[in-house]
């Protein structure tokens, strides 16, 4: 089931089986190259597999873009403890809805990626942590897993290879922070989704403090194609150091919003104009959030850019999770900033002071400004407070909350000032405010 029309500009690698009849079954999967990469991997050494993944320039699709091959090489294989494979299917970054399609349309591709990772590190067990709202995906995944067990693709001595592997789904229950890898592990252990102190990283001490490979759904799902095509060929689909394709989730003010598989480094303007059918109602582009709501916003004039990790970093933004949110000239940036901050405030786990208190304060100021009660230096205060969070919080959620605010205030300051100019409190500064007394 597809929710939007595919685009002819797509490079269908991960999504090549999407839309096939019965695409979730072992039968369809195997008939269309499914488990072929696993068969290949069984004959390879762990080093050789890691090598291919390194050559592919696959970088984590969960947001941070860390090179996957390198991450896998950090797992101590001689450690006597059990090893685990954990899939991050918490997909909660606003603007992102691709892991959902990967599981819905091709659940076994993900399982195959997990199996290959398991071969590399010697894991016998894997968990797929799926956000609770995606209950129907858990059911799809459970059926696919059961099918795979029934046909000998999971469990003991898989297809006579002597390799044992179990996979289980695990449901989340509504918490963005559980997408952060260490908080995810805490949550998977039945605790509050509060991040852990790192180091040690999950590779060394992950689930149950055992060595763990933890990646995003799309990252795992990329691995079978890499082994089939060869790392180099896969890398060449994208730009230097940004291998392969990725699923971009285009949303907002475009004619054909949707999830499209495009090569890494695809130009953002082309993405909007050609893939997503251009701006809705022919209106002008104002801004784009390039990789989910945590990423600093781009103004229209910054959008002629290659969508890969390095190019976006060069303009002080991020490729993030592939959520491209397109905004036209009618967009009220104060409202956008407020809505984004409401999200981070709601989702802050509350563990550390700057994130817990900072998001709340920022939300309150933004609410006040948007509600027409802005004060003279509120824009400056927003900027300064967000900067007081940046780089000082326990986990990157604090940064994720601060960065969009900082960038929106910097790039669209006039809109904040306009709100404030119309406010009856326009001449009051926070520290002189009447409200401050006994508030």
């Amino acid at each position: 089931m597809l929710f939007n029309e595919p685009s002819p500009l797509e490079t269908k690698v991960l999504s090549r089986r999407f839309g096939l009849p019965n695409s979730q079954s072992v039968e369809t999967f195997v008939a269309n190259e499914g488990f072929a990469a696993f068969r290949k991997a069984v004959a390879m050494t762990p080093e050789a597999i890691i090598d291919e993944v390194k050559k592919s320039n696959l970088r984590g699709r969960g947001g941070a873009g860390f090179p996957t091959g390198m991450k896998w090489s950090f797992v101590p294989r001689n450690n006597p403890k059990p090893k685990y494979i954990v899939v991050n299917a918490d997909e909660s970054e606003p603007g992102t809805c691709k892991d959902r399609l990967l599981i819905q349309n091709d659940p076994l591709q993900l399982v195959e990626g997990m199996m290959i990772a398991a071969l590399v590190v010697g894991a016998k067990c894997g968990y797929i942590y799926i956000r609770g709202e995606y209950r129907y995906l858990i059911d799809i995944m459970d059926r696919a897993i059961a099918d795979a067990y029934a046909k000998g693709w999971l469990g003991k001595n898989i297809q006579g290879t002597g390799f044992d592997f179990d996979v289980f789904t695990h449901t989340g229950a509504g918490a963005y922070e559980c997408g952060e890898e260490s908080a995810l592990l805490e949550s998977l252990e039945g605790k509050r989704g509060v991040p852990r102190i790192r180091p040690p990283f999950p590779a060394v001490a992950g689930l149950y403090r055992c060595p763990t490979v933890l990646n995003n759904v799309e990252t795992f799902a990329s691995v079978p194609s890499i082994l089939l095509m060869g790392g180099e060929a896969w890398a060449n689909l994208g730009t230097p150091r940004n291998g392969g394709t990725r699923l971009f989730c285009i949303s907002g003010h475009v004619n054909k919003p949707g999830v499209y598989e495009l090569p890494m480094g695809f130009n953002l303007m082309r993405m909007i104009e050609e893939v997503a059918g251009g701006m809705k109602g022919g209106r002008k582009l104002k801004a784009v959030i390039p990789g989910g709501s945590s990423c600093p916003i781009l103004k229209a004039e910054e959008c002629d850019i290659a969508m890969d990790f390095d190019a976006l970093k060069a303009v002080n933004s991020m490729a993030g999770s592939g959520g491209v949110v397109v905004m036209d000239e009618t967009t009220d940036m104060v409202k956008v900033a407020l809505r984004i901050m409401r999200f981070y405030q709601h989702e802050s786990c509350g563990w550390c002071i700057p994130c817990r208190e900072g998001t709340l304060w920022l939300k309150k100021i933004l609410t006040r400004v948007e509600g027409g009660m802005g004060q003279r230096n509120d824009a400056a205060l927003l900027h300064e407070l967000a900067n007081n969070m940046l780089g000082r919080t326990f986990c990157p959620l604090g940064d994720a909350a601060a960065m969009p605010t900082i960038s929106i205030v910097e790039k669209f300051r006039d809109e904040f000032e306009e709100y404030i100019r119309r406010s009856p409190m326009a001449n009051v500064a926070a520290e002189e405010s009447e409200l401050a007394v006994g508030a």
Binding site: F3, N4, E91, S92, E93, P94, G95, T96, C97, D99, R100, Y127, R131, G132, E133, Y134, R135, Y136, F168, H170, T171, G172, A173, G174, A175, Y176, S187, L188, E189, G190, K191, R192, G193, Y208, C249, I250, S251, G252, H253, P257, G258, V259, I289, S293, G323, V325, M327, T331, K335, V336, R339, I340, F343, H346, E347, C349
Partner: protein
């Protein structure tokens, strides 16, 4: 506390997924599936789940109150209408759907109709951004929701009972 047989079955299935010394891992799934099956989470259930996974009740409460899909102590309605207003939906009419639903149902955020049938919640991104605006009724997604479609969905709920 005795559980309905299907839930009991689900419990053993869930607990069976984790190594025996890590039964605690089952905590969140147990609570969520219990809520689905029983309609609410009660203090007795908290104690029961604590016992089953081998933790203290306060540790269940810690978890219970952390996750936004777990509603405790106040349960949500039989049909829980969740309207996303996060940024992609915000740009495409989510907030208008929210206002409309509030008016139509006469409910606010996390409020439940007097008969316990319908509840309403403004939710964070539900992973349907490219098909926004989107809403969820219980676990069912509805994409590209227009005001008319919203009305129809809500009217249907009343009929479903």
């Amino acid at each position: 506390m005795t559980l309905p047989p299907e839930l009991e079955q689900k419990f053993s299935e869930i607990i069976g997924k984790y190594p025996p010394q890590h039964k605690r891992s089952a905590l969140v799934p147990l609570l969520l599936y219990s809520q689905d099956a029983l309609g609410k989470i009660t203090p007795e259930l908290v104690t029961e789940v604590a016992r089953r996974v081998g933790v203290f009740p306060v540790q269940v409460e810690e978890v219970l109150t952390y996750y936004s899909m777990l509603h405790f102590p106040k349960p949500m309605g039989k049909y829980h209408v969740q309207i996303c207003t996060n940024v992609s939906c915000q740009l495409t009419g989510g907030p208008e759907l929210w206002e409309r639903a509030c008016k139509k149902l006469g409910l606010g955020h996390k409020e439940v109709s007097a008969d316990g049938l319908i509840s309403l919640e403004e939710v964070e991104c539900i992973g349907a951004c490219s098909w926004a605006p989107a809403i969820q009724i219980n676990y069912d997604f509805h994409h590209f929701v227009t005001p008319e479609k919203l009305d129809e969905l809500l009217d249907n709920l009343r009929q479903l009972q």
